[in-house]
Amino acid sequence: MVPSKEDMHDALVLRQGKELTEKFEKTTVAICGLGGLGSNIAISLARAGIGKLILIDFDIVDVTNLHRQQYKASQVGMTKAEAIYENLLEIAPYTTYETHNIKLTEDNIYELLKDADIICEAFDKAEQKAMLNNTVLTTFKDKYLVSASGMAGMDDPNIITTRKITSRFYLCGDGISDVNDNISLVAPRVMLCAAHEAHTVLRIIQNNM
């Protein structure tokens, strides 16, 4: 049986405190890319009781995604936007979700992200990460941006960190482990970096909202 909205709110207050939970519930977070980083960030933030999540990806769930992304074998072939929405509804049914099956470009970033308080960059290609970050940072002076670079391979998990680049721009990852050096991505290390991003979002809300 699915608990009521009130029961789920009360449970969050019990675990996180009233002040923090109420701040989380008032916040809108956009997650750009729903792969290894984005699908994990989305689940963490939905569990924490973020009020609204804007979920954006143009891709389809592929069998090669299942080793690290939060999708099920039965969801292969679905759009990631639809599949993550289905999964999040089972975890946190009272969060507001806005999903977009679309590729983010310089031309649509303003329209798709203008309602977010905090934006998470969760793409996989370096050029796309730079494009999103440059556009967000020069378009929205009042928003916070959390990005990630360097989480591929089997290197030490303890070199993944979060750095504050400017007052509104945070960067997670080890900064160096590129997926293109023939080292692929493994679930725990990507989840670790996603956890850095999600937790940074929660800390931004705690300290600034």
């Binding site: 890319g33 370096a126 730079a130 440059n134 940072l137 360097g150 721009f169 482990s177």
Partner: protein, 64 residues
């Protein structure tokens, strides 16, 4: 001296564009901030590095 990614470099007077190409950065993979301000890509050529500037060039790698 200009502090770039924590290292003092003797590049005051150069444009940002000149510095980035001489350092072999891939312009499609970077974000640049100078003294806490993000520099739009279209301003790289007209931005001059000044003595005392603190610059961070974030160069992204793939994976996510």
């Amino acid at each position: 001296m200009v502090t770039i990614n924590g290292v003092n470099e003797d590049v005051a007077g150069k444009t940002l564009s000149e510095y980035l190409s001489s350092s072999n950065y891939n312009l499609q993979r970077i974000v640049v901030e100078i003294n806490e301000n993000i520099i739009p890509k279209t301003d790289y050529e007209k931005t001059t590095l000044n003595d005392g500037d603190v610059v961070e060039v974030v160069s992204f790698v793939g994976g996510g």
